[in-house]
């Protein structure tokens, strides 16, 4: 139902109330946009040089000068989180995008053609899924080393099978529908049918899943940092800060906790977006 401006004046509710009732999506967008803005503006809003070490300030607890404390090198944690957002969000977005594009293309082709191609794709997906992500990450660091690109690869590789499965399933369902037959009858090429007709129909679902996967990707970065797959120093990432903080967790818990909270905030934002998009595309939900 489309709702024009209601005639009865709605009571002004609190921002939270408004957001929770109908604006989960808006709140989610707000959080994510704010994070991106913080990342972009890091050079101007970060109070300190994120890499400036100070031996006198090693592991100093949060105070007015360093609101989130300092790390084992006396670096300002807030500045490192702000700068780290750039890498962490970038890694998350690029890895998810790569996973979505590769996974979807393979999934759609596999689901559309079926047959031998499909079997091979399914088998390859099974093999990929048989490698636990951390083990895969470990192997990648060992084979390729720890770098931004390899971090992205390690995360994207886990997203690919998930998107293959989804796109393949939806395409197979779509293939049975009349309009695909109609397209064939009109003599459209397979390419055209797949990417101009089938793909747009599964796009809703893809976008929802991608938003949730992005949240996972941002979190995964910290896990991979633990096994040594991160961005070489001194560049900071959220996962890297959490990992460095782990070594001093009992002396300086703020180092791990603040970046974890940043990850939590973005995850909440992305999940709200995911839920909001799902609700928007789900005809059952009220409004």
């Amino acid at each position: 139902m489309s709702a024009p401006a209601p005639t009865a004046a709605a009571p002004r509710s609190s921002a939270f109330g408004r957001a929770t009732r109908s604006g989960g999506l808006a709140l989610g967008v707000l959080i994510v946009v704010a994070s991106i803005a913080a990342a972009v503006a890091a050079p101007w809003i970060a109070p300190f040089d994120p890499n400036a070490q100070d031996v006198l300030l090693v592991l100093s607890p949060p105070d007015t000068v360093h609101p989130l404390g300092t790390d084992a090198f006396g670096r300002d944690v807030l500045s490192r989180i702000l700068w780290g957002a750039r890498i962490s969000l970038y890694v998350g977005f690029v890895a998810t995008l790569a996973g979505v594009v590769i996974g979807t293309v393979i999934g759609v082709v596999s689901g559309y053609y079926g047959g031998l191609v499909d079997r091979l794709v399914v088998a390859a997906t099974d093999v990929l899924l048989s490698f636990p992500q951390l083990i895969m990450g470990l192997l990648l660091v060992a084979v390729l080393g720890a770098s931004l690109t390899n971090l992205i690869i390690a995360i994207a590789v886990t997203a690919v099978p998930a998107f293959i499965r989804m796109a393949r399933g939806s395409t197979m369902a779509m293939r049975e529908r009349d309009f695909v037959d109609a397209c064939r009858a009109l003599g459209y090429s397979d390419m055209r049918i797949m990417f101009l007709h089938v793909l747009p129909n599964i796009l809703d679902e893809l976008v929802v899943m991608a938003s949730l996967w992005l949240a996972t990707a941002i979190r995964t970065e910290s896990t991979l940092a633990f096994i040594g797959l991160s961005v070489p120093p001194p560049t900071s990432t959220w996962g890297g800060i959490v990992r460095e903080g782990f070594d001093n967790l009992l002396d300086a818990p703020w180092m791990s906790i603040f970046p974890s909270l940043a990850i939590l905030a973005v995850m909440i934002g992305l999940n709200l977006i995911g839920d909001g998009l799902r609700d928007a595309t789900d005809p059952r939900s009220p409004q």
Binding site: F73, G145, S147, G228, P232, P233, D251
Partner: protein, 514 residues
């Protein structure tokens, strides 16, 4: 093997259930490692291997418990010894009635000969090069062993001490058990290994027949706890009696504040060196190497690490080794000079050095400090971070522009110099060990010193070697770190714990837990 595990598990089960905890004295030790490296004493080189080897084995002589000094060697399996006037023939009188663990019988000269020959063979030992000067090892009679040298060596007693190759194994056991000896070592020490659980623990029981008397501790559980925080928590909660400490000021301070805890910071120190690859651009230029030496502020490094556990370096060999010479002056911290040298070398706008770096957090952390220091003079240390084994492999293939390496060695200058700065140890050679810098400026002095009979002359040669290496900047010493261990006050090692040649406390027959 399977039967062994089942039996051991059953035994553990019975012990756990049948015996109330108070009935036996169990010492639990926490170690910062995922697993044991090697239990074979002739292969054991890692920090986690050495302490346990010292609990299981004896040498002909031993480092006094709690000491890491060669000056304080005392009789162990040998009761006495003589050396010929030329210093080439040594005769050891063995203690009688010493029993190996289990049913492997009495220790005799045969075992000693077998063990030392085993230690001298690179197929069975990682320390074969230490015995290069040994011409013959013979059993004169069941309680007498004779060692003949080709040439004098700096510290013969050192290579027959309870350290590395000097540990005496049971010949019968080693021959009978074969390749499995590495997980079922048999020695004469106060404790015998009964169980090894991968990634988890080693369990030792007291050797009641130990020749110095039955140990007062009944059992030792040596736990592998790689995560610092959980190891610390296990110690705080009382689940560990003794714990490997972090080489870190804050760690020491935190545990010193806890009640009933004793923190001990002991020798030997590990020296962190930044080896500069003299065969690769831009460090093939002495001026650039010197610039790095001037740019390093080791005082600040020590400040970051904390004065309680870190020391400024004195040379390219760790403090306190036989032959370490503090007269060989290191470069002072002088960033202006560093910049000037860089400009002179043709890099007025700075220079980038690509280095391979392990992802191990502690080493990565030290590199971050160095990276920031070098950056202030315009040297951009670009790290390619790889996993630890890849790093080990790749630095040995001469792929890194410079290399951060931290090590403690047998406390004689000879070993450190030969492994890190002698051209024969240069990477890529068949004789390669850990000379990453392609250093070759002091070969002559190192070789001469190792066969010098006169100790004064020997020390003089080592001094010159260190001076040359420093001047040529094969490596820049960064800082030294001491070993840190903590115990609850109810544990008494039975001696003053001041030095740990085995990198950890030796648990002896005298060690008690109340």
């Amino acid at each position: 093997m399977k039967r062994h595990i089942i039996a051991a598990t059953a035994a553990a089960f019975l012990m756990g259930v049948a015996l109330p905890a108070s009935a036996e004295s169990v010492l639990t030790v926490g170690m910062a490692a995922a697993d044991i490296g090697q239990l074979d004493p002739h292969r054991a080189t890692t920090t986690q291997d050495k302490p346990v080897v010292s609990w299981m084995f004896n040498g002909l002589v031993r480092f006094k418990p709690g000491s890491s000094s060669l000056e304080e060697l005392e009789p162990d399996l040998a009761e006495s010894w003589d050396k010929s006037a030329d210093g080439l023939t040594w005769t050891f009188k063995l203690r009688k009635g010493v029993k190996f663990h289990g049913d492997w019988g009495e220790m005799t000269a045969d075992d000693v000969v077998y063990s030392l020959k085993r230690a001298a063979d690179s197929k069975t030992s990682s320390f074969a090069s230490d015995y290069a000067a040994v011409a013959a090892i013979e059993a004169v009679d069941p309680s007498t062993v004779k060692i003949v040298l080709k040439q004098p060596i700096p510290a013969l007693l050192g290579i027959v001490a309870n350290y590395h190759g000097g540990n005496i194994v049971s010949k019968k056991a080693a021959e009978a058990i074969g390749p499995d000896f590495k997980t079922k070592p048999v020695g004469t020490g106060p404790f015998a290994l009964v169980e090894y659980k991968s990634n988890e623990s080693l369990t030792f029981v007291a050797n009641k027949a130990y020749f110095r008397g039955a140990p007062k501790i009944d059992k030792i559980v040596y736990r592998f706890i790689p995560a610092d925080a959980s190891r610390d928590l296990a110690f705080t909660s009382g689940e560990l009696d003794v714990v490997y400490g972090r080489q870190d000021q804050r760690w020491v301070e935190r545990f010193k504040k806890e009640p009933n805890v004793v923190v001990e910071v002991v020798q030997p120190s590990e020296l962190s060196l930044f080896h500069l690859n003299r065969a690769m651009k831009p460090l093939d230029d002495l001026r650039v190497r010197q610039a790095i030496a001037y740019a390093v502020d080791s005082k600040q490094m020590v400040a970051f690490k904390g004065a309680a556990t870190a020391l400024p370096p004195v040379s390219v060999i760790p403090t306190g080794y036989l032959g370490t010479d503090e007269k060989a002056k290191l470069y002072p911290f002088d960033p202006a000079k560093a910049k000037a040298l860089l400009a002179e070398a043709g890099y007025p706008n700075g220079v980038a050095i690509k280095v391979l770096q392990t992802s191990l957090p502690t080493m990565l952390n030290s590199m971050q400090i160095l990276q920031a220091q070098l950056k202030t003079v315009g040297i951009d240390l670009q790290m390619e971070v790889v996993d630890h084994q890849s790093w080990h492999a790749q630095i040995r293939k001469d792929l890194s522009g410079a290399n951060y390496y931290s090590a403690a060695r047998f406390p004689v200058a000879d070993v450190y110099l030969k492994q890190f700065f002698h051209s024969s140890a240069t990477v890529l050679k068949p004789t390669a060990v850990t000379n990453f810098s392609h250093c070759d400026v002091a070969d002559k002095e190192i070789d001469e010193a190792s066969v010098a009979v006169d100790p004064v002359k020997q020390k003089e040669l080592w001094y010159i070697a260190q001076k040359k290496i420093i001047e040529d900047v094969c490596a820049v010493p960064l800082f030294e770190q001491l070993q840190v261990w903590a115990r609850h006050t109810n544990v008494d090692y039975g001696y003053q714990f001041k030095g740990a040649i085995h990198l950890g406390p030796v648990i002896t027959e005298a060690t008690t837990k109340k």
